[in-house]
């Protein structure tokens, strides 16, 4: 058995993946290359939306929705707000004099990460499912988890990761108070 109900191996899904991958990478490149900050922020939104589409392809519909709500809806608007508030749209975002060494460093890091990815022999879930090494209950559990992920994410959040969940709320509260204290007119 496979996880996808006959849809994941089809050509159209591959095409969608490549469109999303190319658009997210091109938009990310535009973010760092655009001199106009406002346009860079708009390309950042394009990149976020493309990555949200890839989350849907990865069967993480909840993460895709959260990505659109938080990144596209909140963070991008916050960044555009800051750009407009400071009015520094025209001066743009020049790179400093160490641009070339930094580019070489980033390229080296990317090549290293891709090399490690290709060289590693990952244990892939679909192969394990097809080999039949798992018990029947585990196999049905896996397909149940991936058919509707949201209840299982909720269970993980409030059972296994409940401490991190509560700490995250304290971190958000501290961020709110800190941002208010920093911005306040004296």
């Amino acid at each position: 058995m496979t996880l996808g109900q006959g849809t994941e191996a089809s050509l159209i899904v591959d095409v969608v993946f490549w469109v999303l991958a190319v658009s997210s990478i091109v938009a990310a490149f535009a973010v760092v290359q655009m001199r106009n900050l406002f346009r860079a922020a708009l390309f950042l939104i394009v990149s976020f939306v493309a990555v949200a589409g890839m989350f849907v392809l990865l069967r993480a519909e909840f993460i895709a929705a959260v990505q659109v709500l938080i990144y596209v809806g909140a963070i991008s608007v916050l960044i555009i707000f800051a750009i407009l508030m400071t009015g520094e749209v025209e001066t743009g975002s020049p790179a400093h004099s160490l641009r070339i060494p930094v580019a070489i460093l980033a390229a080296l890091f990317g090549i290293l990460a891709i090399f490690v990815t290709v060289q590693t022999d990952w244990i892939i879930l679909d192969d394990v499912l097809q080999s039949g090494n798992l018990s029947a209950s585990a196999t049905s559990g896996i397909s149940e988890v991936f058919s509707n992920t949201i209840p299982w994410i909720a269970r993980l959040l409030v059972q296994d990761f409940v401490l991190a969940f509560e700490v995250a709320s304290v971190v958000l509260l501290a961020a709110i108070i800190g941002a208010l204290a920093l911005i306040r007119e004296r």
């Binding site: 800051a82 892939i124 990761f161």
Partner: protein, 117 residues
């Protein structure tokens, strides 16, 4: 479309973000590049959660595997926490940027040198 494809896309976006974060002088551009890096890490975490197998499932197929299946989604939970922290980080970062802009009327990180004097 496999794990490798997603991880390579994630690595490329991360390197672009790394280049932007290290080379830009404008603080808002640095923050945007950092958001790109967060996004790449999220993509990698969710891809791992979809494609790889927890050792508890693979090594001991019969010992409580059905209770452990929900651990398949650990990567997605990680990315939820990363998104939460990213939201807090960008709010604080922009607050600092605006506070610096008010006192020095510049956005360039290379000009914020008060603590060096």
């Amino acid at each position: 479309m496999s794990l490798d494809n997603f991880l390579i896309v994630s690595a490329i976006i991360f390197s672009i973000g790394l280049y932007g974060a290290l080379s830009k002088r404008n603080a808002i551009a640095v923050l945007m590049s950092i958001e790109l890096m967060f996004n790449a890490v999220n993509l990698a975490a969710v891809a791992f959660s979809r494609y790889t197998v927890p050792a508890t499932l693979f090594g001991r197929p019969e010992s409580g595997a059905e209770q452990m299946t929900h651990l398949l989604l650990t990567g997605q939970v990680f990315s939820i926490f990363i998104i939460t922290i990213a939201a807090a980080e960008v709010a604080l970062g922009l607050a600092i940027v605006i506070a610096v802009y008010r006192s020095r009327s510049t956005l360039f990180v290379t000009d914020a040198t008060q603590m060096r004097k």
